[in-house]
Each structure stands twice: as structure tokens, then as C-alpha cells.
């Protein structure tokens, strides 16, 4: 069991690993990972949209897999966390970030950190052979056409309707 929380009734001392850096925090058991990132660690990239797991704006990587930070209690975090702030390599943007810029794949930008984190992990899932609900052959390597990208990104909502540019951005990053 990694980093078991030290409990004091309804508070806990946690040693989280965020973007490769250990961060020691004291939290209320009610705090979600999203709350701790935004309110205690000044990592405001992950956004609070619906706060009910319906919009995906809070998506971060948990041990490399995408997850909704708004539904994950901070005390329950075991894995390394990567946020949008941890994707770039120094001054070099992550290929998915670069593709979003090149394709103008956002308008207001509020859902964008979640879209990008989700896309980064989605591409990894596809590389690992994970099928989706629109994959015909569950046992073959999935080909990321537009229908696959749309289905796999359906957990990230965009109220501006920038989907028309998000899909090509992700398709380019997939190549």
C-alpha cells in the first residue's frame, strides 16, 4: 500500500506525487483531488466544471490513466498524478498541446486542460489496444478514425462547440 494517509479523525496528512514532485499536504477527508490541486497546490489548470463527473474539465492522469479529479477523494489517491501543468517538457509543449494550438481547438479554453489530459491518456489507451464502444473488432488493434476519437473523447464536454477542431487536433497528434 503506497502512501497510506495518516489520519487525525476527519483530517489526513498526505504525501502526493504531482508532476514528479512530492507534495505534502494536510487535507480534510472531504477534499477531492481537484480541490487540493486548485486550492492548496496552486495548480489551477484542472478546472471545476460540473463537479459531478459529467463534463471532464477536471480530467488528470492517475498513474498515467485519465480520471475525473472531482470524484476522487484526495485521501484515496495512491498513484502519481500528472496535471496539464506537467505535460510540457520545459518550454516544449506536449504534441497534443501543440496540435490544439495549431488547430485552434478551443474558444474559451475552460474545458481545454481536461480535453488535452484526456486526449493524451486516450492515445495511450489506443496504443495499448483498448477498444471503445464503436470498435467493431474487439480483439484487433483499434484504428483511430474520427468516429473512434469522438467516442473516446465523449467524457469531455465543450460548451463552445469546438469539437470540429478538437477531433482533427487529436487525429494529428495520433499520427
Amino acid at each position: 500500500m503506497r502512501n497510506p494517509p495518516r489520519m487525525h479523525a476527519q483530517h489526513a496528512d498526505l504525501a502526493l506525487t504531482i508532476n514528479g514532485v512530492r507534495r505534502d499536504v494536510s487535507v480534510d477527508t472531504r477534499a477531492t483531488l481537484l480541490d487540493v490541486l486548485r486550492e492548496q497546490l496552486e495548480l489551477t489548470g484542472a478546472k471545476k466544471g460540473c463537479d459531478h463527473g459529467q463534463c471532464g474539465a477536471c480530467t488528470v492522469l492517475l498513474g498515467g490513466r485519465r480520471a475525473n479529479a472531482c470524484l476522487l477523494l484526495a485521501v484515496a489517491v495512491r498513484e502519481d498524478v500528472t496535471t496539464i501543468e506537467g505535460l510540457a517538457d520545459g518550454g516544449a509543449l506536449h504534441p497534443v498541446q501543440r496540435a490544439f494550438v495549431e488547430h485552434d481547438a478551443f474558444q474559451c479554453g475552460y474545458c481545454t486542460p481536461g480535453q488535452i489530459c484526456s486526449a493524451v491518456a486516450m492515445l495511450e489507451e489506443a496504443r495499448d489496444g483498448w477498444p471503445s464502444a464503436v470498435t467493431d473488432d474487439l480483439t484487433a488493434a483499434p484504428a483511430l478514425d474520427d468516429a473512434e476519437i469522438r467516442e473516446r473523447m465523449s467524457g469531455n464536454l465543450c460548451r463552445c462547440g469546438a469539437y470540429a477542431n478538437i477531433v482533427p487536433a487529436i487525429a494529428e497528434a495520433a499520427r
Binding site: M1, P4, P5, M7, A9, Q10, A12, D28, T29, R30, T32, D51, H52, G53, G56, T59, L62, R65, R66, A67, N68, L71, L72, L73, V75, A76, R78, S118, A121, M122, E125, D128, G129, W130, P131, S132, A133, T135, L138, T139, R150, E151, R152, M153, S154, G155, N156
Partner: protein
């Protein structure tokens, strides 16, 4: 959200011991439903016992099946090559549910025990017999477009929201449970219960009992199996109607078959009457319609959800045509 204490269990016995006797305690797995309900104060546990480390493997059984640990995530389950090859119905159902990021948190045990998405259940300012026994059911006269048409009661017209459970009901899985009274095995269907006059009880589990694994028998009817889900948008929505179908064809004759509906009842609805019509019959649209009608004859739709009956009939018929073609 109300204050609560948090404990993390290393194994199933530890989880049962931690929870034992604690008033208002809950097991926490992925939390995608429970944490949401805590934010809404539908759930107000004083203690959470985290069981996400309990049962995280998928193992082969001596009988040629699979034993899926309760802590396996929905994402890992649908990605598992053995599940994709041998139980495509289950993989399809899991992939039809929620979103990629939710499936990576949600677990097999938690998926089975998720609560209804009935709007009144999730709104603490409204009466709800499931949330507060005896307080009444506004859904009967109110918003019930996506609620039950089969097996409901005066007290409750809620539906069970899981896709995975529908595939498990068709496959005839077994749920392994542990508790202070020992271990037991519960078949699906059989885990979930109809509301009757106790809608606050979703399942037959006793207080403190913990799901540790779901066991699948050796694979059958792999070639002709399909999970079909109808919803209000193309992805990332709960079922209006869903159906899990698996058929064995011998020439043009139906041998064994398995059918279960989602979105129609308080339980994943195994369609025994439809199966009985199909077994031994010559496959074709007429008999598929007879099978659907035999199952849906018992439907008692509410004011605004009568469309579900012909929808379920048509979805079953077209899915049978697809798998039998």
C-alpha cells in the same frame, strides 16, 4: 458534504473488520457514484472504508471461466484480452457505459452497487421511498420518462442504471461476497431485487457484506453475442433501453440463448419468457417478435414512458436478427 472518517483496507477481511458495526459506514471503491451522492448529501456516511485495493486481479478458474476481482476497474475489465475474446458481450456492455475517465475509476463491485439515477432519489429536497422509507414517490406522477416499465411497485419506479450488470445477468455470473457472517455466492440475476415495499434495499446484500469478486462460467455463445444500447445521445448517457443477447444457432434452429434488458426495471431484467419462446424455434423475425411480446406482456408503463415497450421490442428483434444473420 458531511464530515467523515476514512480508513483504507488492505484486504477483504480487514475491510469487513473496519466497517463492522459502524453506524452509517460505507465501503468506498472508485467513488464515482458514492462521492457524487455524498456531495448531494443523499449519502452521509460517518466512516468510509476504502476497498480499492481489494481484488484487483482477473484470474482463470479451474472451470474454464474468469474470476474478476471486485476492485478491477471498468477500464481494465473491458481492456482485458481474455474478456474481449471470450466474453465480448461483457466488454461491449462495459464500454457502452460512462466515459473513459470514469471507467478508469469505477470498479466492478461498485458498478453492481451503483444507485438509481432517478431525479427524485438524487434530490434531498424531494420525497423518495428509496432514500427515506415511507416518504412517498413523486416519480409516479412526475418525471418518469426514463423509469421502469417492468417489475415496479407503488413505492418505487426506479431503474437500475448499470450496463455491465445487464451483460452479467445474461451471462449468468456469480457474485462472491464476504461479511461478518462468512462468505457466500449469489447468482446474477438474484443479487438485485425488485422494489416491492422496501425500495430502500437495492440488493439482497446484508449490512456490512462486501462484494469481493464476480465469477464467469466457461464462455458460451461467443460468436453470436451483442449488447445494444439505446440512449438520448450517441455516447456518454444512461440507457433508455438496452439489451444483451447471446444465441446458439444449429442450422436455422435456436439452441441455447440468453437475453437480458437494461433500463426497464429495478434490476437487470433476465428475459426468461423470451428465451423460452426462442429455444428450439426456427430463427426469424416472426418468432423474434413472439419472444419479445412474451416478455413484454407484463409491462405496466407509466404516463410518459410507454414508448419504452415498443422500443424494447424493436431493439430485441433487430439485435436477434443481427446476431442470427
Amino acid at each position: 458534504m458531511r464530515p467523515f472518517a476514512y480508513e483504507r483496507a488492505a484486504d477483504a477481511a480487514g475491510a469487513v473488520a473496519l466497517l463492522n458495526g459502524a453506524d452509517g459506514a460505507r465501503y468506498l471503491a472508485g467513488g464515482t457514484n458514492l462521492v457524487d451522492l455524498m456531495k448531494l448529501e443523499v449519502e452521509t456516511p460517518g466512516l468510509l472504508v476504502d476497498v480499492r485495493d481489494v481484488g484487483t486481479e482477473i484470474e482463470e478458474t479451474a472451470a474454464g471461466g474468469l474470476r474478476i476481482g471486485a476492485g478491477v476497474t471498468n477500464g481494465a475489465l473491458a481492456a482485458d484480452r481474455r474478456v474481449r475474446e471470450r466474453y465480448p458481450l461483457l466488454a461491449q456492455a462495459v464500454l457502452a457505459g460512462a466515459s473513459g475517465q470514469l471507467r478508469n475509476l469505477a470498479t466492478v463491485g461498485g458498478n453492481l452497487l451503483q444507485r438509481t439515477r432517478c431525479a427524485y432519489f438524487q434530490d434531498v429536497t424531494k420525497p423518495c421511498n428509496k432514500r427515506r422509507a415511507g416518504s412517498g414517490c413523486p416519480a409516479r406522477q412526475g418525471e418518469h420518462r426514463n423509469l421502469a416499465v417492468l417489475g415496479h411497485s407503488q413505492a418505487c419506479v426506479a431503474t437500475h442504471p448499470s450496463d455491465m450488470a445487464v451483460a452479467l445477468a445474461a451471462l449468468g455470473a456469480t457474485v462472491h461476497v464476504t461479511g461478518s457472517g462468512g462468505d457466500r455466492a449469489i447468482p446474477i440475476p438474484g443479487l438485485h431485487r425488485l422494489p416491492g415495499d422496501e425500495p430502500q434495499r437495492d440488493t439482497v446484500l446484508e449490512p456490512g457484506e462486501l462484494i469481493v469478486a464476480v465469477e464467469l462460467e466457461a464462455p458460451v455463445m461467443v460468436e453470436r453475442a451483442r449488447y445494444r444500447k439505446v440512449r438520448d445521445r450517441a455516447s456518454y448517457a444512461f440507457a433508455v433501453v438496452s439489451v444483451a443477447v447471446a444465441v446458439e444457432l444449429d442450422g436455422g434452429t435456436v439452441g441455447d440463448c440468453r437475453i437480458a434488458f437494461g433500463g426497464l426495471a429495478h434490476v437487470p431484467w433476465r428475459a426468461d419468457r423470451a428465451e423460452a419462446v426462442l429455444r428450439g424455434a426456427t430463427a426469424g423475425e416472426a418468432v423474434f417478435r413472439d419472444a419479445a411480446d412474451a416478455e413484454l406482456a407484463a409491462a405496466e408503463p407509466l404516463r410518459d414512458n410507454a414508448f419504452k415497450v415498443p422500443l424494447a421490442r424493436n431493439v430485441l428483434v433487430s439485435t436477434l436478427e443481427e446476431v442470427c444473420s
